[in-house]
Symmetry: C2
Subunit: 300 residues, 2 copies
């Protein structure tokens, strides 16, 4: 069964009754499951985690706009987190039996429907971006809601869908498709922060390392060790095993051993199974050989 994750970020994290109404609207959509939602008062922002197929997620996102628009007005919204819209960001993430292209198509379809039905400008980002300059969320969001009117006056900031100016109360929305993130830390058997920082610099994309790695060296003060703290933004193209082996090799350069690694939060099973397949030198292996996948498929 095709499974897509969608994580809408909404600019309301203080009024619990409003957040509850939004959650109710999402739960009421058939074939969508609301796995989680959390609100941050200082950010004044809530994050909802949904899973479903393309059609049901589209219905859920439209239901979310329907409920949220009368309740959220960015003209009076304050919070620490940058935002351009009442429904600020809507990423679609391929999970199972679905490709990135499917998620890009869904982002375009939902973006177009939102623009048409609610008269809100929509910018496509990440894998769904219409040009390289729009891939990064931070570039689209720079200037925030307050600067949006001026920003959109420039021809290069015309939206991908919808009106050429912000919606009065809801601003704009950023809709897109991306891979699941893996927050991955490797702990080193040393307290030398300079080593962790050098390794981070060696492996991260921004300073010449692997394409889908963001990394920094940090202290784990309560344990007297240091850590290479990473975000892996595409585990299919930059796999975990390669990142681990490269960090281990760079550490050896300084006479330092890897103590352990840790995954913060969730990881797709495939990222670990790919790692096992690499180390076991597995050939002729496919996901249909995973017992649990077989068990979950329908009856004979």
């Amino acid at each position: 069964m095709p499974l897509i994750e969608c994580i809408p970020n909404v600019s309301e994290g203080r009024r619990a009754a409003v957040v509850a109404q939004l959650a109710d609207a999402l739960r009421a959509v058939p074939d969508v499951r609301l796995l989680d939602h959390s609100s941050d008062a200082s950010h004044n922002r809530s994050v909802f985690t949904l899973v479903g197929d393309a059609a049901s997620l589209k219905a859920a996102i439209l239901a979310l706009y329907d409920r949220a628009l009368p309740l959220i007005d960015l003209r009076t919204h304050e919070g620490e987190h940058p935002r351009v819209g009442a429904i600020d960001v809507v990423p679609f993430v391929p999970i199972e039996d679905v490709t990135m292209d499917d998620c890009i198509a869904l982002a375009r379809e939902v973006g177009s429907a939102v623009a048409e039905r609610f008269e809100i400008p929509v910018f496509l980002y990440e894998e769904a971006a219409s040009s390289p300059g729009r891939r990064n969320l931070e570039d689209i969001r720079r200037g925030e809601f307050e600067g949006l009117q001026a920003k959109m006056a420039a021809p290069e900031w015309q939206p991908d869908f919808g009106p050429a100016a912000p919606h009065p109360s809801a601003g704009a929305s950023v809709v897109g498709a991306r891979m699941p993130l893996i927050a991955y830390n490797i702990n080193l058997a040393t307290d030398r922060l300079d080593v962790a920082k050098k390794i981070a610099a060696a492996i991260r994309y921004s300073s010449g390392g692997l394409r889908y790695v963001k990394a920094m060296g940090v202290q784990v003060t309560d344990r007297g060790i240091v850590q290479v703290s990473m975000n892996l933004t595409n585990y299919q193209k930059t796999p975990m095993f390669r990142v681990f082996d490269l960090v281990k090799r760079e550490a050896a350069r300084y006479g330092v051993a890897v103590l352990e690694s840790e995954i913060v939060g969730l990881v797709p099973a495939t990222a670990l199974i790919d790692t096992a397949a690499y180390h076991l030198q597995l050939e002729r292996f496919g996901p249909e050989q995973i017992l649990e996948n077989r068990l979950r498929r329908g009856p004979e």
Copy 2:
């Protein structure tokens, strides 16, 4: 959701209409899924693969006996495969959110119910065995249906449940609990069969190797290489990564490299995830961090 696999082996593999009736009886049980069934005419035997929780699998097995007993008579049954019963073997295998102890308890419960309702003697085997001499299926089955009356006259072959003599037409049943098997082959970059045989002897339990490994050295004639062909009978206690690394080390002793490995048929995801966790030196990692597990759990 607790998920148990059950693979009843039935002594009928020639009359398609009978096998179809048995499959129908299993499909009619609520909350059980019949994933697969296959029949072998020369063995005169059929294997059904079911999944479900404990209560539904118990109902399914009782329904199977109900339907099979009037249709199968071992007094006229012939086939190459050894058997003591019309319903010959019923193993329960823990898959997800369920322990081996749960499966042992289920084997005892089903064995007791079968004995009481159908007056069939039941022997418990493998992890559910009541003594070490009854762990091996082959020991229980030695002498087959034809020798069962004489065998059960001995005090050490009294059944765990039910009457002290075989059922006239259905013989006895062997019910138990075991781990899923992994059929795992490691191909060597050589055509030297003696090397594959020496490695197999070094790593298998029967000649002093790892506890849950059966292994032999064989030729892969069409490719001009040799293979260490294995069954891993408990991947939790003798994990795949240790088997692979030991084979690789033994091969190096003869100046031979590992070309690749392959999994024949199904493998539990956990066996591969454990392998990834070993190589990544993962700490503080649990199955609740696997995205797919989280997604499959119920809604918030």
